[in-house]
Subunit: 220 residues, 2 copies
């Protein structure tokens, strides 16, 4: 046992397609989660799948999710059923010499598990802080904290990061030899990244440092 | 009946949270789908949810998905079970005067339905063309088309865009009156967008026009 055990794939979290792109170290998982902004949370509701985008935050090996107490997806996820959470970063489009080998460069994490509703007040507040600092670093201390009514209206879920799969693709196209030999034209990568724009103010105050710092920092 | 019927929400595709952000016209759905690059495809496998990122393409009111014939998610989706597909564009982080009202600006589409495997050769090729032109506009004509072996290794699914929900949030924070009156500091929006980088060449040819045009066009 180590403090940082590798990801332990179960049958459903074992990467089967493109296994050479699978990462098995926990640092890769954390890296993908920390660089994403939203996740896609999937649950089974009335026997059929439901997937919705939502915010998240990570603290150690716990992923926090939250939402309105009335949200269908959160209600389902909080009822002790299995969930699946995906965080995906698209880093570029891979143009190959054949249609078939076109691809994307990406970093992907898929987590399986049973979400636990966080009801202990201090842990709930901690989960909300983690979520807020992921969405808007610096905002927890700068703005008004949740009041009891707001806390009661919010469901916080904790998901253990035990069962997870990470896939990362980087680099150029992987073409068939005969297509490379045929030298039929260009092949390459068109990189894609997310960039922050200039802050838009809705209050007559200077933009605070935690916001300007984010806007000018290099994006992951 | 019209040629462009509005989205007809069923109980599960009716937007319940933030209903004021729900869009019910088909043009909004097409707009979100056409401006996204990947989707998150959710299926139920062995009773538990599975969500994976994948490419897609839209032609009229049909969404095409594809993948390796061996891919677990595609196999599940092709077996005539219900799927749920989400396309999400994050447009910015909304900084409010309270933690509770922090939010995101986004465009989101969630489609429910039963995917149909496309086996008729011409329709399969058409579906792949639609998928390729969504991922890499111009690539279908520029590069080598799929050969019979590649076609056999690829599953193409068609999903009808009948049952779908669209949510769009724009604009500044929506704060409580007392927080606005308290004038406690800055509030605003930090816009986020995706930008293409300069094309990276992996073949000794000039970058073709369909790639340079994309790299320099304004991103959605």
């Amino acid at each position: 046992m180590t403090e940082n055990p590798p990801l332990s794939p179960t049958p459903r979290s074992t990467v089967k397609r493109g296994a050479k792109r699978a990462q098995t170290d926990r640092a890769a998982l954390r890296d993908v989660l920390d660089n994403g902004l939203i996740c896609h949370l999937s649950t089974v509701v009335d026997g059929t799948p439901l997937v919705l985008p939502t915010g998240y935050g990570r603290d150690g090996d716990t992923l926090y999710l939250h939402g309105s107490t009335g949200a269908r997806s959160l209600r389902a996820a909080a009822s002790g059923v299995e969930v699946c959470v995906a965080v995906t970063l698209v880093d570029g489009v891979v143009y190959a010499r054949s249609v078939f080998h076109h691809s994307m460069n990406y970093r992907s994490a898929v987590v399986h598990g049973t979400a636990v509703q966080v009801s202990e007040p201090r842990e709930k507040l901690h989960g909300l802080r983690v979520l807020t600092e992921h969405l808007a670093p610096g905002s927890w201390d700068y703005t008004r904290e949740p009041n009891p009514k707001e806390l009661a209206a919010t469901t916080v879920l904790a998901l253990d990061l035990t069962e997870a799969a990470v896939k990362i693709r980087t680099g150029g196209p992987v073409d068939d030899d005969e297509d490379v030999s045929a030298d039929r034209g260009w092949a390459g990568v068109l990189p894609l990244r997310q960039v922050w724009g200039a802050a838009e103010s809705f209050a007559d105050h200077p933009v605070p440092a935690h916001v300007t710092a984010r806007a000018t920092a290099p994006t992951p």
